[in-house]
């Protein structure tokens, strides 16, 4: 198999261009999927027989929680590559992923609270699932803080990569917490092996919302990684050329 395309993608100017082409597609498709998912979830899907209309929070809570874990894995893998091979692009992806992941972790926590209040009677309980998700938020914020604490980008990225890798132990804890401990949080409805415990009318909007959230998170990471690359490589010829191509108005993307 020919891997030249892969090596080429790893070079900053190629990735910069590739991200610039891909990001609008992810954004556009993500927005379309989100519009469908929210319409179908809020209007078309019937109310749940137990939770009534409050179950509709699933269409924002589950995608946010799924993306919060997936992005952490992406960040940790990028961190591993950055530490072992000192690959600049991996460092940029690591730095770019942290704020996006933090935003979806915060959303998962907030929507979980808004769902917990009417269903459990409490916004918050110190339960394994909720607590480990809160730790996930702290890990993301920790990576962002480490990044901000260093002036030298390579040193920052190494520190962030180490924290990201150490924190990866929390990911299975979040995922399996509902099975390992008695939790107020329910087990998986959809994201598990076997048949989902949900009717198609309710499940299809959820799949669409998951797809939409992954696409939009991808768009945000590509844009931030582009920024990180421009900043890191500011003194190189390709960045100068890119800036010249952008012309007189530097605000046009």
């Amino acid at each position: 198999m020919n891997w030249t395309w892969f090596h080429r993608l790893g070079s900053p100017p190629s990735f910069y261009r590739f991200a610039g082409t891909l990001a609008p597609w992810l954004g556009g498709l993500g927005l379309a999927a989100l519009a469908y998912a929210w319409y179908a979830g809020l209007v078309l899907a019937p109310a749940d027989y137990q939770q009534k209309d409050a179950f509709r929070i699933i269409y924002v809570h589950v995608p946010a929680a799924a993306v919060s874990l997936s992005l952490y894995m992406l960040m940790a893998v990028a961190g591993g590559i950055a530490l072992i091979w000192r690959m600049k692009l991996a460092e940029c992806v690591l730095i770019a992923t942290a704020p996006v992941g933090a935003s979806f972790t915060a959303l998962a926590l907030l929507t979980g609270m808004l769902w917990g209040k009417p269903m459990w009677g409490a916004y918050w309980v110190w339960d394994a699932r909720l607590t480990s998700e809160l730790v996930l938020l702290f890990l993301y914020v920790g990576v962002m803080g480490l990044k901000a604490a260093f002036d030298e980008p390579r040193a920052a990225a190494r520190a962030c990569a180490l924290l990201a890798l150490v924190g990866v132990v929390n990911v299975p804890i979040v995922h399996f917490s509902v099975e390992w401990w008695n939790s107020l949080h329910q087990g998986s409805t959809v994201l598990k092996f076997g048949k989902p415990n949900i009717s198609a009318q309710m499940a299809v909007p959820l799949y669409a919302a998951l797809l939409a959230t992954y696409l939009l998170a991808g768009q945000a990471i590509l844009r931030r990684a582009q920024n990180e690359l421009l900043s890191r490589e500011r003194n190189t010829r390709w960045v100068r050329e890119t800036l010249t191509e952008l012309g007189g108005d530097p605000h046009v993307s």
Binding site: G27, L34, W38, L42, V43, A47, K52, D53, A54, R56, I57, Y59, V60, H61, A64, P99, V100, S103, F104, A106, L107, L110, T111, L114, W115, K117, P118, L216, A217, Q219, A220, R223, R224, Q226, N227, L230, S231, R234, N235, T236, R237, V239, R240, L243, L246, P250, H251, S253
Partner: protein
């Protein structure tokens, strides 16, 4: 849209609060990346004239 729809069976605060928060997060992700780019391009424009070095 009917009042019944907006009322969400009495769970309006929780349902609309959740969807509103999600909308805010999606918007923040787009706008903050854009603002970061704008700041960066401004700072790069300021440092124009320094010799480019190739690695």
């Amino acid at each position: 849209m009917s009042a019944e729809f907006w009322n969400m069976g009495g769970y309006a605060l929780y349902v609309w609060g959740s969807f509103g928060a999600a909308l805010a997060v999606h918007l923040w992700n787009v706008l903050s990346a854009r603002a970061q780019r704008r700041r960066l391009l401004d700072s790069l424009a300021d440092s124009e004239g320094e010799q480019p070095v190739d690695e």
